[in-house]
Symmetry: D2
Subunit: 403 residues, 4 copies
């Protein structure tokens, strides 16, 4: 149970921190302010500063750190880097470590054919294109995979896709070129061999981005979350990732590290919110006292500190389990962090907003936007309630309880 990063991990942590301080921090606020000031449609364009920052990060070798085979970093090593990146809204993308591309690159790296790697993985790793993952559907409860309606049927020696997906994150990005689409290939097959994942060029005939979805009022430009329809989209059999029927297995494998990344970034965000709360509470006064000395504010700050520390340790423990025992040795913990961390982050950020008064509601601080990120993650990748169900099932299994 050693959560300490390796020497290599520690070195990267320092370099990531230095880069963030030197390059990202001075650029971020102006960039966000430009985006807020832009006309809505203009927000979907890339800010040229992003390209510059990405070039610098690539040149500095701070690139694709999430991928063990590239970076040589374990989950325990990478977790603190993800926490650092999480303190910024743009850092993950600067380092080419942002969801959902990270998960998609992992999938293509592990399961992709040589041709898929050449066509999609290579430019993704180079940061030249972006991708999206099309799984959730508007008409069914997506936490129950058996209800999925989208199809990836084998017809006449090719694949035909039909269906409607939403919350396809990243689909709005101007560089988005490929979608990983999940659909049913063999409805009569064994339960865990029915679904397939297909790599779909975003400009394939029959693919249509119906609309971009607001999340608690925000569009998360320039990546965004799309509703995408697939109507008789025809692709060669080679477009299956990992072959037909591999969808469920790939989905499961994709989860573990991604969950750790998401959660560590949220911990970084919660730390940033706690820091903002402390600064505000120390600097601003009312009734003749610094805000932190009013009412229960100090107790709330203490509770935030305790909650963040506990959550971080649980994620590190999960990372360590992933490193030492693989996804199937960490199933409960992967669900545990999914339940514990977004709620914790939401609460800490809400506390920080409250301490900022009205300013906390505006976009003058990062808090209001950060809140939406945490809130959305209580639903993304399965709602809390479903993950509590997983944790309970594994717990009760120890006492002979069937599903």
């Amino acid at each position: 149970m050693d959560f300490a990063p390796s020497a290599r991990g520690r070195e990267y942590a320092e370099r990531v921190k230095d880069f963030m301080d030197a390059e990202i921090a001075p650029a971020e606020e102006p960039l966000l302010r430009r985006r807020l000031a832009a006309a809505p449609e203009a927000r979907w364009q890339l800010d040229p500063v992003m390209a510059e920052l990405k070039d610098k990060a690539r040149d500095a070798g701070l690139w694709n750190l999430f991928l063990p085979d590239v970076s040589g970093l374990s989950n325990v090593d990478y977790a603190p880097l993800a926490e650092l990146m999480g303190r910024s809204v743009i850092a993950a993308e600067v380092f080419n470590c942002n969801a959902p591309d990270t998960g998609n690159m992992e999938v293509l790296h592990q399961f992709g054919s040589p041709e898929q790697k050449e066509q999609w993985l290579k430019p993704l790793l180079e940061g030249r294109i972006r991708s999206a993952f099309c799984m959730t559907e508007p008409e069914v409860a997506s936490s129950d995979a058996t209800t999925m309606r989208a199809t990836a049927a084998v017809v006449d020696g090719g694949i035909v896709l039909n269906g409607r997906k939403w919350f396809s994150t990243g689909v709005g990005h101007p560089d988005c070129r490929v979608l990983l689409f999940m659909g049913v290939t063999d409805p009569a097959g064994q339960k865990y061999r029915r679904h397939s994942i297909v790599a779909v060029p975003v400009d394939a005939p029959g693919v249509r981005i119906e609309r971009m979805l607001p999340v608690m009022g925000r569009y998360d430009e320039p990546s965004g979350h799309g509703e995408v329809s697939f109507t008789d989209v025809r692709l060669p059999l080679e477009a299956f990732v990992g072959g037909p029927g591999a969808g469920f297995e790939i989905g499961q494998k994709r989860l573990g590290p991604g969950r750790v990344h998401h959660c560590m970034r949220l911990i970084g965000l919660a730390e940033a919110a706690l820091e903002a709360a402390c600064r505000r509470g120390v600097e601003r006064s009312a009734f003749g006292k610094p805000l932190v000395n009013l009412g229960g504010n100090r107790e709330r700050i203490a509770e935030a500190r305790i909650a963040i520390n506990q959550a971080r340790l649980l994620v590190l423990y999960t990372a360590w389990l992933l490193d030492t025992q693989g996804v199937f040795g960490a199933l409960s913990e992967i669900s545990q962090i999914k339940v514990a961390v977004p709620s914790m982050a939401q609460n800490v950020i809400d506390m920080a907003i409250q301490l900022h008064g009205g300013a906390g509601l505006t976009d003058d601080t990062f808090l209001a936007g950060a809140w939406t990120i945490a809130r959305a993650l209580r639903l993304a990748d399965g709602p809390d309630e479903v993950h509590r169900g997983v944790v309970a099932r594994l717990e009760l299994g120890r006492y002979g309880m069937a599903r």
Copy 2:
């Protein structure tokens, strides 16, 4: 302790409900959809349907019901009407019963000079113009009135305003014509006689709307919340409302009924959210069961029902206290509902969002927008923490504790 509305109140409740069912319900969703689809700047224009609905409501005599001297309704009578209106996002304005105009009309009605009534109150009551209340300031903790920086100085036989206000709700409305501005007139005066309220034409030289503020990412068009600067704005002495030094007294009187209105509307909103949660939970299935039969969903629905009922009763009790004992007989309760109701509504709405899955985060339902309303009210009119302080002070006063 009779919370039952009078016969007159019951009759109005029926008519309001009928009007909402017949006129507002069919118009609301298309209107909101048009607004969402509009280009951002276009959202600040009035939808012509609003004018039609207002005309119909005025013709039906469902107009200015919030004002006892006009409607003959007590707070206990009006509370259920506010709850009904709260189920809709547009109803309050349709009935000319929306904040902040209601509070401003109350102030002008009670404290305005005949000229002020003619110039501002009359067109407000007719729904021809809108108004804003300019109190909160960006640079100080507004819950501590002694920190207010804006000034309404008497200079050379006139008033000169200087200062910067924000969260001036309604200032973005195309019909907004008058601002009630609070500033310090006599900094050396007795603590509760320092501040004045001044009626300021929105187009007075020196008044400048610096920007509209997003609240958790939303602008609440077409009313909006503005940051407004006042630079050497010169007005005649007649612009004081209630004379110089009356600001604090007016502010206190303005609070009670407004708090009840806000809270009852939130209860309507929470009821609508609970209804949406129940419908979704009954209609949508996963894992072979209706959602309500999964995990703790039924218990959460029960908790929501219990929480709403308790909150409503506390607001009705406060309304009854206001009717029978006035604002100063209800000081603790006015703060109690401010603490209890927005939190309750926020939690119920959050639960409903969670039950809707991803859809709950979008604007496909009213829930995401409703959440922001509830969240903002945990800060508007003083943060929860300050109101808990008021409740505690009054409670401890019974045991000899000084402030």
Copy 3:
């Protein structure tokens, strides 16, 4: 929705308050101290002061106020009296208004035969004997009545009881003479006609008090909670209360007013705890300040005030529903208060304990004992979770959801 007591109710409230101040308050602490100091077995004897207090209450006409046909008081009238009594641990019994005798007297009054009234109800109303209610069983989940194992079979023209009951409150009282026993008479009958209630003399052959049960370490002497076995207890058919098969109906009717009584007493207890917390917080200092001025203590006091007020209003509303629409018009609310009030009281008392430091854990204050009362009521008469289920079922029924 008039929660104001009648003139008669107000008059009784004053008299009860005066009696409690003049007679009970000075006697209570010495009595409780005597009981704590007594050897355990001696605690099961009646303190002679109780008899004196009861005589005085009877003489003052403050007797059996819970029973509308005797007192002429509605539920709305009686609720404030129950709250007053709840501030004391002994008052309810002094006024002959204590559970479970009140519920048993209601049952005998409504359903008892003339002989049962003469034999049991009369001396109960006179306070000469005590009773117990034997329903819950150790081996089954008692919230599901269909699992009940105890039988009240009709054999050879008589009744034969078999089974084991526990949490039979009052069975330890030296004056306990009669048990109302619930058992299955007709296992094949219609679901709501299977159970019967039987009036059983406590000294009937085959009745055996196996042990008295501690509740969170306390025995609640001299009433106590017993585990009672019934082995071939033979009684004449006349011992059925309301005839065979009436058990379910009687059980339901018994619930409503009893729930209101329990909850109002808990509200009195919570008020007493809040008062104790305020006094302690004002009088004791640490770090140079009164305790209430440290950390979040004032906010906690405010939250307690708000929670108590909301809970009281919900109980009064339920009482009003019972008065105006009967038990079946208040089914959801009866379960709502069962969920809301004991939890609220437990939390308020816990807060008061915390403010008292170590002293709050001892029996130097009433708080530790009061906590146990509130905690036990989260399970007695059905656990919170079951009542949330009832509330949800009734709520969802409005949307077409079957059980």
Copy 4:
């Protein structure tokens, strides 16, 4: 950040577990049942089985494992042993690892004179005598050490003790021989040099155990918590532990490991409660389903698992900090676990009680007793609120905030 125990630690963990399974588990329930069945005064006698178990543990070398200089175990090594012991109510004492003797032995080991070691430490380490720690006082808020009233004055070449202490745990034990008493020696001295600790024979003239204190109705026989008066107790100067004025320093040093021990035992207790809840929920049915499949029970079990895991990791982290950086490198974390763990344990145990229905309130399971342990620890060693204050102070210190 390596939380894995050493090989030596792992080996001890196995042996402790085996011993508990083989020796303690079969003996514990009968022992507790004997104690419950005994007359109250008889509960203060030692059960002969305890002596046998202690002999076996000593012979097995599972003895004084808490003391690094004896056992060679770090805090990280010992933590899992404490968790194991915490699953049982008697195990810690069987292994001579129970509070407050452990803390007292640490103090005497680190600060005691050779004579004190011979007279008190030796028999304590051998388990032949027991001890108590006399710090908290009934008349003052003990979390603020500056309010302490008890004195340990130097008079005529000797020490004279005066004062009244309570919550002196262990003072009721028949083998209790020595009290570590804290009092003010030099009221005018430097703030952290005023207090002294004095080793006081329990039978010194002037020492009087005034009464044993119930904690939430329980006396915790045979150790108990005493109120002890000290009236002109005269002792030679050699009775100072660490010399006069060393009290504060000793108190601080005593804290860290003791907090870790307490918290790990609570985690063991919470694990045992969760296990009991799962077993009950799987085995008992209502409404045709195992209890775990009703309402929110599965979600509650999941939340308990998540809460326990997070709490354990935080305690292990604190143990690791203590091992690597000492008490002063772990001040915030020592307070963090004091806040987080007892609350967590209380909540998990409360959930388990609720799942057991009425049985959970009785002493038929260990849960009711366990609840009291957790509840008391929210006050013992300083109330949660004070520790939140410490955490906040250290957090805000990073932003330049003075105390």
